[in-house]
Symmetry: C3
């Protein structure tokens, strides 16, 4: 996985509910084909999805008794990535017959993957999304979308909620209230948070209602590198007697599929909203972000010299934090020599004397 | 816009009739996304189509009261390209919040754009297409097509009308007459013209008629760099008593969309022919030129060492004239330093102290 | 044609039956557009498919009386590639008006093409496929498929028949017998052969039958560089009284279309099997090989450090033999200076004085 990503960190690879016992799931993550596996007894694993023999996709093979079989020549791999069966000739298992294994963690209803140094994988640093720890089938609403735009465009989008007033004019807009209010952005260690506080005409959590009242609203987005965000929203009538308040906590988690596409995992707290949020994102944010990706023509944001608005504070802080972490990681990385081609040749020689 | 194009010259961006008052029109020209605007009172403008804040396409935003609003975060831009409204926080307009403005001219029923140095934009050098100055709705017939081929392949095509005998065998062919007659090509200053004069069996302006007579025909193509061409045609019976003559003046104007695709603006003098000419070009020339573009695999014509026929004279003269003008322009161009990245960083700094 | 291919050798360009007298056929071979021609009297030729004047595809022009006419400006070319008619002006034929001619040979029911030095084209070195010399319409069954994978992946596939047990589980599988038996691979001069010999439950040539018996099977694949293979199969009941034996000889010939796609010519000896084999290849091998091509991301097999199994012996030997031949050819190649651009310019000058 390339130097453009932060590697020593946890990324959401899937919602836990996407992977039933005995099933496997192909997913491209950080540009690499990954095979997610859940064994018979429920434990999860993530291995490379390409067979080291002739490069077939293991996801097209059978997964039985916690062993995946390559669909081309039948090599079988355990959930550790180690080849455990060679059906050819004397059945000897060649040294190279193993696929990469990624540390995984199942936590907060999600399967997290660690693309960096396995020795450094610390499950304790997964950011706290414990509000998701409720039975997902009954209450919460995990969604997954693919967008053809870089993941930082998707994190920027959530870190600047003011876009709702322009992109979501008929759905989530506050009629200019979010944009007008001066968002407060700050960094606390490596966590960026942005807060919007404003009063406006509307209904509590429902601006399009027929009898709007004066509503006090607070939004907070909390970002953890590289793209895991919590969105807290609270609104209540300014005058208490006109109704009760609402609070909600949602998850918006971006995992790069490639440098030009993103897996967007979201959980909007209430499964009744899943379809609506999915539709809004696909038709409004998704269309916008994919067009921006094309308009940027593969250039880095900073190289395009963007005009910066006050509403960009959170996004700028998050990008800088992430950039610093990636730079730091790359500087401290020990160059590991990759296996020299000569040894493959030697292995081939052994067979063709 | 890249050095492969002549910049200090006028290109047709649209027919005037394509843009009603209060409307905007997205068009890629010379590889750049451009937004054409016509204000309430009829005046036209052309600005970059990508918002300098977050690179959304302005063409997807509203255009009201001569102001276009970015659909992502609501920055508003005047027809000059200057940001005139920032709905965020204190509303201060950042220095970078402006998009490029192109000189435009509305003349001869077309909107012309000048992609080069604005100081040098001289409306007096627009080539004379005054024959188009008739009410387009009633008499003339402006068409617009996109072709996935380099614009010089399209100008070559018109500069060698002999292709009609082979490409348009059932529509515009003269049965070999144009090919056989020796075309006269010449340069007058920077204007290339090619003339074909021949007698042949046919009908005046209609070769496929049932009772052909001996017809005298003259064609002339007049090319102005980089791709604005006038095609004059005249035909009359060789023996005066068999009927009356016809003359016609048509416009064939090629504007690069990218280096691999072209906007083809044509006006065939009589709106009754518009559909037929559109169909002939799409099904015959267009198919041929797109295939040639693929067969050339991105190589320059001269690098492919083409065989040169006598019928290529006009095209060779036009290509050389254009090549000389581009070389001259590039040599005299003063390198302008682009805005240094540091100032963006500084601007970002101002927001994230 | 690029240095990635062996050039001084014969490739199958088409089955002879694909080209009737007076017909032409466009085919991309080794990355180059080629036009196959069969004259009125039955002789075949192969020339470049791109007109040297303006790069139109000759395959879109008429082919009459053994002369092909360019569809753009009417230049006519003989089957030798020489321009024989210029309909323009004085009709003089420019020196550059010729297209490349390739040596061809019609042998064993196929049209073979030699992309290398024409002087070196020796029809005597076409590998012996004389078993194909039967009336193709009545008995044999020549098929042609295109696959979006490098031709060496297709030769590897045939050189390791063990894939049948995993890829063709419901069609050609031996239930693991081929994989288990130790294939014997050897090089004899520059010809690689692989042999599988095994006993197993089944029916002679039909493993899925209801009353399987003990069957003795022998397979042999014989490879000639770069991709012409003969597959001999023989099977008979282990106990002679339970039925009679079968033998069959099939052709599997791979010709690169480009470095990422292949023409697959096959002849499975019995035309009744043509549709079935076509379907099996398209749905099973073809899907697998195209996915592997994508999974390899344009990298060379050896650079990916594959695990090598005993069943890879034949493929490894064939790849090494081919690699050695290509290297040898490149080292002995005399650099020929290509025509200097100046002379085109001079030719153009002659027309635009």
């Amino acid at each position: 996985m390339s130097g453009i990503y932060l590697l020593n960190c946890w990324y959401v690879a899937a919602w836990a509910s996407e992977l039933a016992p005995g099933r496997h799931l192909r997913r491209v993550l950080l540009g690499e084909p990954v095979l997610l596996l859940r064994g018979q007894s429920g434990e999860t694993a993530a291995i490379g999805n390409v067979c080291p023999h002739r490069f077939a996709s293991l996801s097209d093979g059978k997964f039985e008794n916690d062993v995946v079989e390559c669909p081309y020549h039948g090599l079988r791999f355990a959930m550790s990535g180690q080849c455990v069966h060679n059906p050819h000739g004397d059945g000897k298992i060649p040294e190279r017959a193993k696929v990469r294994s990624y540390p995984v963690a199942e936590k907060y209803g999600a399967i997290w993957i660690w693309p960096g140094d396995p020795e450094a994988a610390d499950r304790g640093i997964i950011p706290d999304f414990s509000f998701l720890d409720v039975p997902i089938e009954t209450e919460r609403a995990g969604g997954h979308l693919r967008t053809d735009a870089n993941y930082q465009l998707l994190t920027d989008n959530i870190l600047d909620l003011s876009h709702a007033d322009f992109v979501h004019t008929t759905t989530l807009s506050t009629g200019g209230d979010i944009a007008r209010c001066q968002a407060k952005a700050q960094v606390d260690g490596e966590v960026v948070s942005v807060k919007w506080v404003f009063d406006g005409k509307g209904m509590v959590m429902n601006r399009s209602a027929e009898n709007p009242v004066d509503v006090h609203t607070e939004f907070e987005v909390i970002w953890h590198a590289p793209g895991a965000m919590i969105l807290k929203s609270a609104s209540r009538p300014v005058e208490a007697e006109t109704g009760v308040g609402h609070t909600r906590v949602a998850a918006h988690i971006m995992t790069p599929e490639t440098d030009k596409s993103t897996h967007y995992f979201f959980d909007v707290a209430d499964r009744r909203y899943l379809d609506r949020v999915t539709q809004i994102f696909e038709e409004e944010d998704g269309v916008m972000l994919e067009q921006i990706q094309r308009n940027m023509r593969g250039e880095d944001l900073w190289d395009l010299h963007p005009a910066i608005l006050s509403s960009d504070r959170g996004a700028v802080l998050a990008r800088r934090t992430l950039q610093r972490k990636i730079r730091h990681e790359q500087e401290s990385q020990v160059d590991r020599a990759s296996s020299p081609a000569e040894s493959v040749e030697a292995e081939a020689d052994a067979h063709v004397r």
